[in-house]
Structures are given as C-alpha cells and as structure tokens.
Symmetry: C2
Subunit: 331 residues, 2 copies
C-alpha cells in the first residue's frame, strides 16, 4: 500500500521534494459501516496548490506528513456498509493512497456503464459542476452576449466555452499554445481563440475578438490576462473569479491593474466562485451535463497520466500548462 504525503509546504512553484512517498506493507481491515477502497483514477487540480499553503483560505490547509487528498474514483474491494457492494465504483474526496478505508460519507456511486470512470472526475464531476454553476449562477449568460474564458483549454475552461455556445453566446477563449487555440475552435466550437504567449497586445486582441464588448468573463487565471480583459467589459458585465492559476505560486502578494475603477464605470460585478457553496444545485447540474454529454453537445479532453507514482509530477505539470483539459492520473 502506497501513499503520497505532503512533506513541506511549497514556496513558489511546487516541486517533487514537497512530497513524500510512503510504502507500507500492511493489510487494511474494515469495521462495521466501513468499506475498503482501491484508487482507480486520481484528479490533480490547480486549486490544490492553495491547500498546500497554510494561508487562511476557504478550506483547511493540508496537514504536513499526512496524505494529500483530491477527487478520486475508487473501487470497493470489501464492504461492511450496506450502501456499497464489492465491485461498486465511488467518487469523492479521498487520499492519495492506493488503498484506504472509508465510512462512505461524502462518496457517490458512479456507473462505469453510463460514462467512462474518469468523466466522474471531470465533465460529470467537480470540473463540470464548476463550469456549469460558475457560469450560470454568477455569469447569468444571455443569448447573443459575448463571453471570454481564460484558461480556456483547461478542464473547466473548455466546458465553460461549450456550455456558453449551447446557450447561444459568442465565445472567446484564451490559452497558451497555438495547438490549444486550434483545439478550442475545432473541437470545442469556440468562436475565437487568443494565444497569450504569442500575442503582443492582449488588450487590442480582446477588443478585436469582442467587437460588441465582453458581457461575461470566466476567469481561471488572474494576472495580466485578466487586466487586459477589463478594458473590454460592457455595462453590467459579470466576472466569475474561478481561479488564479497565474498567481498560485507567487510568494509575494500579486499586484495588478486596479479593478475598482473598471467595475464602477461599468456597474460590473466580480465574484469569487467556489463550487462547494452550491451543493444543493449539483443534482440538477449533473442532469444537465449528462444530458448534453449524451446528446454529444458536450465533449471533453483529458490528459491521462499512468501510474500512482506520477501523481505529484502530474500536479506540478499543471502549472506549466502541460495538460489539455482535465489532468487525471490512472492508477
């Protein structure tokens, strides 16, 4: 049985030395009400970087010398809990361990017949819920409006763009390679794509791609890209702050263009979005997402890395933009 623990808190960009691999030669036993789980797929996500710091945040930071945890799909190996049978698959927040014991709380059964198991970490999991609920609850998109999505080729961004297309918006994606831009347009149906690594004047590029201005900005990145979008926002624009991957690794508090004058000039709204605050809307959202997936209106990209030992590297690679879509480790 193997686990990956947080050995030290990253300073700046996380490195392999922040993690410790622990191998134990023991047999896990379960008590009444518990189940024994074997990890099948592990999700690595940018937000985990925040939990590795001990700064005040919306969730408790990870404890040092304990296993990191994230979204995991696991198989039930043994069960003394009537809700779960041997062979069932479940998804939930679980440890980075090959095997673990759970009382079943917070776990949902998932059906490998209905959709590939990995999608329950992605488009039918937190990723899809974040995209759908962030967009609809804060973004309140209306047909024919224009949306800009940053981190557009990432797991959440690519789903946001597709949902926005389904809802009838003009969709502009920002990503970091020409290959990703091509994928946004050909695979996900974005109207326009902007490569921030090759575009000199982001402000003009956004203005050009959004001739009617920007009504909704789904922000996964923060930093200078988000500064550039501000110049194009319309009256009553809604800005969803879903993540700030560009600054997660900063050791100093980042500065940027003051947003306040833009917000007051445009009566615009900017709101932080954390999917767990919208739990009561999950069933309805999952139904929507599963429906669009079945109708093939929604597609997804995964970057699947093989092997438990590669979890930390896969996580680190997120900050280099090495993933396309959802980054998942197959155990």
């Amino acid at each position: 049985m193997k686990s990956i623990k947080l050995k030290s808190r990253p300073e700046g960009k996380p490195t392999l030395s922040n993690f410790e691999f622990v191998e134990e030669d023991k047999t896990l036993t379960i008590s009444d009400g518990e189940i024994l789980l074997e990890a099948a797929y592990v999700s690595v996500d940018p937000y985990l970087r925040g939990r590795m710091s001990d700064a005040k945040s919306y969730v408790e930071p990870f404890k040092l010398n304990e296993p990191v945890h994230s979204g995991v799909v696991a198989k039930v190996l043994e069960s003394k809990n009537e809700k779960f049978q041997i062979g069932d698959y479940v998804s939930g927040m679980l440890n980075w361990s090959t095997q673990q014991v759970s009382n079943g709380e917070g776990l949902n059964k998932v059906d490998p017949e209905k959709a590939p198991l990995s999608t329950y970490l992605g488009v039918l999991g937190m990723t899809g819920l974040t995209a759908y609920l962030g967009l609809t609850e804060i973004g309140k998109p209306k047909k024919d409006e224009t949306i800009v999505v940053s981190g557009a080729a990432g797991a959440v961004g690519s789903v946001v763009g597709q949902i926005a297309k389904i809802l009838g918006l003009r969709v502009i994606g920002i990503a970091g390679t020409d290959e990703k831009i091509e994928m946004l347009k050909s695979k996900f149906g974005f109207d326009e794509g902007i490569n921030y690594n090759t575009t000199k004047d982001m402000k003009s590029a956004i203005a050009e791609a959004a001739p009617n201005g920007v009504d909704v900005y789904f922000d996964n990145v923060g930093g200078p890209i988000s500064d550039a979008v501000l110049f194009s926002i319309n009256q009553f624009a809604r800005i969803i702050i879903c993540g700030a991957i560009s600054v997660y690794n900063e050791t100093e508090l980042p500065t940027s263009l003051s947003v306040q004058p833009f917000l007051v000039k445009n009566s615009a709204l900017m709101q932080g979005f954390i999917v767990s605050n919208y739990a009561e809307k999950f069933p309805e959202a999952i139904q929507k997402l599963a429906g669009w997936l079945a109708e093939e209106k929604l597609t997804y990209t995964e970057t699947i890395v093989d092997g438990f030992d590669n979890i930390p590297q896969a996580f680190i690679d997120l900050f280099e933009g090495k993933n396309k879509g959802k980054m998942i480790v197959k155990i």
Copy 2:
C-alpha cells in the same frame, strides 16, 4: 447671467484654469412648456471628475466650452409649464449657471417647508439614495455583521454608516483627520474610526477594529486603503465600489493588490454601484430616508460654500478632503 464652462480637460488634479467664467448681459426668455430657473444651491461631487475626462464611462463626458452640470436646487422665476408655479423650488441635473431655461424634464419639485433646501442635494437627494441603495442592494447588510466604510466622513460615507447602525451592524469608518474620526463617532454613531493619515499599519488597524472580520465594505476611495481592507474580509463578503476618489486624478491607470485571490478565497463579491441604475427604487428609498430624518435617527453634515464664483474651487477642494459631509455651494 453667469455660467461656468469646462475650458480644458484636467490632467491629474483639476485646477481653476480648467474652468472658464462667462458673464452675459442678456435676458433669458421662455417658450411654451418652459420655465426660467435661478440656481439656489449647487452640488459638487467627486464623480464629476470622471465626466471631465473623455475616457469611456457610464455617462457622456462633459463637452468642452459648455457649462458643467451637476445636482442643483433652483427657484422657478417664470413658468409657461403648468407643472411648475413661480416660486416653486426644483431639484435636478442643471447647468452651473445663475439662470437657465428648462422644459422641466427630469426636475422634481422640492418643499422647503419639509426640509432645508440643501438636503435635497444631500441626504434626501443623490447622496442619500447612493448610500441607501448601494448599501442595501449590493451590500445586503444583516444585523450584527461588520461594515467598513471608506471616505466615511464624506457625504455618502457618513450616511452609509448611520444607516448601517440603524440596521444593527458594527460600523467602522475610515477618514483622514482626527477631527473627522471624532465626528464619525460622536455625531454619526460609528463604533470605530481609523485615521488613515496617522495609522502606519492599516491592515492591522482594520483587523483590530473588526475582530469578527468584515462582511460589507462600502468603498468610496479605492487605492491602498481598499487593499488593506481585503485582508479582513469574511466568507461571502460584499464590497460595494461606489467611488474611487483616490484614483480619479491619476493620469496613469492605477495598480493595486490583485483582488481576485481574495475574492475567490472568500467567495466574495465586488460590484460597481451607480445610483442611476436603481431609479425605480428611488421613491421607496426617499421615503425611508425622510422617515429616519424626521425621527432624528439620521443626521448629516454639510460644508456650505458661499457664492457662485466659488463652485470650481469647492469642487477642487473635494480632492483635498476639505469638506465634511456634503459639499454644497449656496448661490
């Protein structure tokens, strides 16, 4: 008949040379449906600075070589409009002119018997509406929550703080002199006041004044003061961006701490507020304000400057914080 025109657009801080005094020796005549008005009180407000620039904004910039306009209370000298009688007082957006002709559109009759005429530019006018509607519509304050108000001794800020007290909040005001801080506490009933000019560590001072964190931040100033407040915001905090007097005169786009990480960590909301978007709520709001005023739950401070010729200087003085409460010029 005298008028004050915008001669040139201010670069940075406005100066007297941006304005032109024009004296015309002519008698104004009115046609059917029109009224002849004589200015009684003129409101000068920080937001006018924005209209003097030709940057894209929520309102048209002032035209060069035409009279500036702002909130004015005026007396009807002649009338060919059945809605107005000679001797009536009206309030509305009018020119900086001693006399002018109007068709009555957008003007409201005000009653000098019910409240002093100047209050129709202040606590019973745009100032009070901005305070009440900004606080309630975006701030959604709840009893026992904590609010921070910047520009607290200003026209809007002092009303915001008092309404927040009426609604049962803990109220912390930020202002720039000890005299203003004293006034916040003794006259307006604020619980705490912080003098940003004498406080070295604003971040700690705010944390200390708000031991339970900040739920609502009514922001009139922007800049470093607003940066400091971010460190104390609570989960689901609401930040009303009502003004940014600290940056109105900047010639470069201002930078500050990136707000995005704070918003996402705290699922917090930041929204630009412009009172004119809430016109349908004005009657209800005025009724509330007039009620509190009559019950003496609400009081106000005015800085009244005498003489038409002093309008530009009174406006310029706003940016030095020379006013306490609403700055009004009596003609």
